[in-house]
């Protein structure tokens, strides 16, 4: 039938135009232009003949001898989506591998479980690169706070935020692809992002993965680091800490006060180790202010930051 043949020819020429555009662009990345001839049903396909001269010229110029390869796993319209995703995120994976990794196991088709293995590796690689960075950045941080800080960087919430920023839920294939109104999109997006990190680690190596983790996860900031530090008895802890460091026993002194007999007094207390002030705190009573000063002194000690360091995985390679 001539009408269907015209429709098929039109879709093929549009695909060729996309490939020509890809070849003509200077970048090594495939072009994200997908010229899809949608809704070319037999009733309207005769309209394809009445194209403007410019459109006809563009289509004719793009005619190429290369037929679509039968072994290509990724159809043309998906190639554009994956190319755009690659350019957006910097994950330079092959389109075929990318398609496998972006297929969550909830998709249901056979072979959808392969991304679970990448997720296993990705979760641990992400944890490793962030942990070694935080371990060296805060050398005095206790282990409870260390795990809490690492969780802030690589926990579910952070990975979900980064996945949504990349637009992973729109590119991935999951149970919601063929079932509308399905919940769990963002959680599964996080899972797919971990698979992507695992694929990056196995195919491009630790340097590329470390650079990716630094760019997208370690660039995040924690507003209040002292929220991760749990101290039950700050005065006693501080006294023990000073003793272990062979320093003078801490003594608290009232520095400033205002409104002592009013309804809103403010006392400013400083904690001194000899003549050196190690902490300062304010409160509505003297003991409250002393407690605050001890917490401040402990924060200054445990949350000490190192600026320049090299991580073990960087030195080893």
């Amino acid at each position: 039938m001539p009408s269907t043949a015209t429709a098929r020819n039109a879709s093929i020429t549009f695909a060729r135009l996309a490939r020509a555009a890809a070849r003509s662009s200077c970048t090594a990345q495939p072009s994200a232009v997908a010229l899809t001839a949608a809704r070319l049903n037999p009733a309207t396909s005769h309209r394809a003949a009445h194209t403007t001269p410019a459109l006809r010229q563009a289509v004719a110029a793009a005619a190429s001898p290369l037929p679509p390869s039968p072994s290509a796993a990724v159809p043309p319209h998906e190639r554009a989506r994956l190319a755009a995703f690659t350019a957006r995120t910097g994950l330079n994976l092959d389109p075929e591998l990318l398609r496998i990794v972006l297929t969550h196991r909830s998709y249901g088709k056979p072979g959808a479980e392969q991304s679970a293995r990448f997720e296993f590796i990705g979760e641990r690689a992400l944890d490793l690169y962030v942990t070694e960075h935080i371990y060296l950045k805060y050398p005095e941080l206790p282990t409870g706070a260390l795990s809490s800080v690492v969780k802030a960087y690589v926990g579910d919430k952070a990975v979900q935020k980064v996945a949504v920023q990349f637009g992973v839920p729109q590119v991935m294939r999951w149970k919601g692809t063929h079932t509308p109104h399905t919940r769990g999109e963002i959680a599964i997006g996080a899972s797919v992002l971990r698979s992507l990190i695992g694929a990056l680690q196995t195919s491009l190596g630790p340097e590329a993965t470390r650079a990716f983790v630094r760019a997208h996860f370690l660039s995040r900031t924690i507003d209040d680091l002292s929220a991760h530090l749990k101290v039950s008895a700050p005065m006693a802890t501080l006294a023990l800490l000073m003793k272990n460091q062979d320093r003078i026993r801490p003594v608290s002194r009232l520095l400033q006060e205002t409104g002592r007999l009013s309804h809103a007094p403010v006392f400013l207390v400083g904690i001194y180790s000899g003549v050196e002030k190690i902490g300062e705190g304010a409160g509505s009573s003297k003991s409250h202010a002393e407690h605050s000063a001890a917490v401040d002194a402990l924060c200054k000690h445990y949350l000490r930051e190192v600026k320049d360091f090299s991580v073990p995985s960087e030195v080893a390679s």
Partner: protein, 166 residues
């Protein structure tokens, strides 16, 4: 944990922390653009009305854009999935999909090629396809603006020269 702490924790977990100590923020915050920039736009649909004889006139500008300017723009913006689709009988539109799933549609009927290019660039550069009316270039006023820093800082008990003693 003491009973008051237990009660505070229960109230915080129940979300009733407005009147008492708020739960501490144990999350991290992302800053897009600090180390690397991830554009918000994911897909751009350009739907044109096919220029048949005596029809498709409202998308003449869009069709001219598709034939002349689109390949260069697509090459300059590799992070956008561009989808060109003919849609007859309806006005031509640009539909942008953003990273959070938001879709923004703009009617480009009877627009020139230059106007369409402006809209395309605006959609590709913006975060959610909406105009942000930010006031810039405000004049210097005698009393100062409402949120501006004052020459004399607000009084605080630690740096005040005199304190109240009843």
């Amino acid at each position: 944990m003491s009973t008051p702490r237990q009660l505070i924790k229960q109230l915080q977990q129940a979300g009733l922390q407005n009147r008492i100590l708020p739960a501490k923020d144990l999350t991290s915050r992302g800053h897009n653009g600090s180390a690397t920039f991830v554009p918000a736009i994911t897909k751009l649909n350009l739907r044109y009305s096919h220029p048949r004889i005596g029809a498709g006139g409202s998308s003449a500008g869009l069709v001219q854009f598709l034939t002349t300017r689109l390949p260069a723009i697509a090459a300059a913006r590799p992070y956008v999935e561009i989808c060109v689709q003919p849609r007859n009988g309806v006005p031509p539109t640009l539909t942008a999909t953003y990273a959070g799933g938001k879709k923004v549609a703009i009617d480009v009927g009877k627009m020139t090629c230059g106007e369409v290019e402006k809209k395309v660039n605006f959609l590709c550069d913006s975060m959610d396809g909406e105009e942000k009316h930010i006031q810039r270039g405000k004049p210097v006023k005698v009393g100062g603006h409402k949120g501006a820093a004052r020459v004399l800082p607000a009084w605080d008990p630690f740096t005040a020269p005199t304190t109240f003693k009843p």
